[in-house]
Amino acid sequence: MTGRRRWVPYLGIAVIVAYCLAPFYWMLVSSLRRANDIFDSAPVPTPLSLESYRAVFGSSNGFVRSLGNSFLVAGITTVLVLLIGTLTAYALARLDFRFKNVVLAVIITTSMFPGISLLVPLLQLFSGIGWINTYQAMIVPSMSFALPLAVWNLTAFFKQMPLELEEAAQIDGCTPAQAFRKVILPLAAPGVFTTAIITFIAAWNEFIIALSVVNKQELKTAPVIISQFTGLTQFDSPFGTQMAAGVVVTIPLVVLVLLFQRRIVAGLTAGGVK
């Protein structure tokens, strides 16, 4: 390679980084402007102002409560899905049994179903049994996409672990169940953790279920509340507060992503494509 062309990859890198971060940067910048300069298009906000953040946290729009709701729904979904999914993934990765490929195919197929074809009948069911405006009405349907995702990721992870681990454990007198509990599970902790992050992000970002099954202000999740923020007048969209709230909702995820990027990328690419 000649010196002339060595900068080309760096230019490419710069373009990619700009492509990915510019809109996000704009959200950050807009959230730091005063309400009066919100339509300003300078790349750096002058003066810096936390007005929008005060509006988000201060007023009675229920944003803080909705953050708690999001944590609760995404957290419980993640824990449930990991409890069930880890066992299944281990069986799919390690045990040799009949219908294994059928089970695997069923699980991956369910993740392809369009959410709306599950949501409409569940909505009718939930109105029938009084589940509208409950947490379980958000958690249970969320498992329809979170569980296949977790099983798929964990299966790929368990398959990467050396088979000798169980063999050694069995030689030492462990049953398959003991081998799983005492040897595999502790060593699989990083994979389970990565899957937990990916599942949590997917559940945290869920929108249509939470939008459909809940209409009580106190139970709405953060994305739903933010999308329904109202301005002072009917035609005034509160972009400043929306951007500030968007930053607040996204920052935890971005921090997770920065801390565990290597693992997340490994998890996403090994676990198929979801």
């Binding site: 990859p9 890198i13 373009v15 990619i16 980084v17 492509y19 990915c20 809109p23 704009w26 959200m27 339509f39 066992l87 299944t88 069986a91 045990l95 040799d96 049994f97 490929n101 089970v103 695997l104 069923v106 699980i107 991956i108 197929t109 392809m112 179903f113 369009p114 709306i116 074809s117 599950l118 949501l119 409409v120 009948p121 569940l122 909505l123 009718q124 249970v140 498992m143 329809s144 569980l147 296949p148 790929a156 398959p176 169940a177 929108f207 459909s212 739903v224 933010i226 999308s227 968007g246 909702v249 996204t250 992503v257 990027q261 990328v265 996403l268 690419t269 198929g272 494509v273 979801k274």
Partner: protein, 322 residues
Amino acid sequence: MAILIDAPAGPEPARPAPGLRRTGVGKLAALLVSPTLLVLALVVAYPIVSALRLAFYRRDDTPDPVTGLLRPGDHFVGIDNFTDMFAGESSTRFLNALWNTTTFTVTAVSLEVVIGVLMALVMHKAFRGRALVRASILVPWAVPTAIAGLLWRWIFQADGVANDLIPGPPILWTTDGAQAWFAVVVADSWKTAPFIGLLVLAGLQVISTEVYEAARLDGASAWRTFFSITLPLVKPTLLVAVLFRILDTLRMFDLPYTLIGPGKNATDTVTVLAFEEAVKFGKYGPASAYAVFLFAYVAVVAFVFVRLLGADVLGTKARRGR
């Protein structure tokens, strides 16, 4: 591979009473797998079957001729919900939504594949700054789609930054019409092209450098190398990624809903329509019919990809080769 070849030649007595071990393993496997299948039966299989049934029912809005009261509950209407989708007064909205769903999918996924592959090629070539790229590429993926919709709604405001950057009179992006459709495509490409790039990069990294060296020794041009080596070798990864992206875009809801809003001709997708029918109007019958149609649409696309194009969704082919 070595294990597969060696296994039959191995000494038979090494596995005493294989049947016994198998039954034990079978029971354990059933125990471990059944919770997942049970949950999926409850939250996926039951709703699907239920939607199939609901699609043949409709809430009756006409009063009972005898009592003059509104008749409670849903009534069986045969295939009326389905025929109404293609003929009759509500068919225009549905066919329009179907058209939007399809054009969104074809355009956005094509665009994302091109951008994603370009990104992967750049990242593959770069030796420095990989951590930075990887971190920034995960940012659009991590932003909740509904929030991404609001962010792009802000960017595409009449007096927003998009119109500041584009010369000429301001465009009313978020109202309706072709520009609204385009705004959704842009937002979707931003959100998911990096993700395709990530997957393709993983595919690129397993291609051995020897193949490229051989091509270079044979004097192949960069274009030739890309089309004759890189693309065919990365095709299995790409095919699965494209399939999942297509299925994801066919059920698109969050972006059109938060970026443009429901009830817009240019951006209403089948999911938006079904959501409106079910949540806003409580018409579960027609909503289910839309949902069932979308389900069938998705199934056909998945079938074409897996059977005709050979998308290896389960990863069995790749693993056997490893």
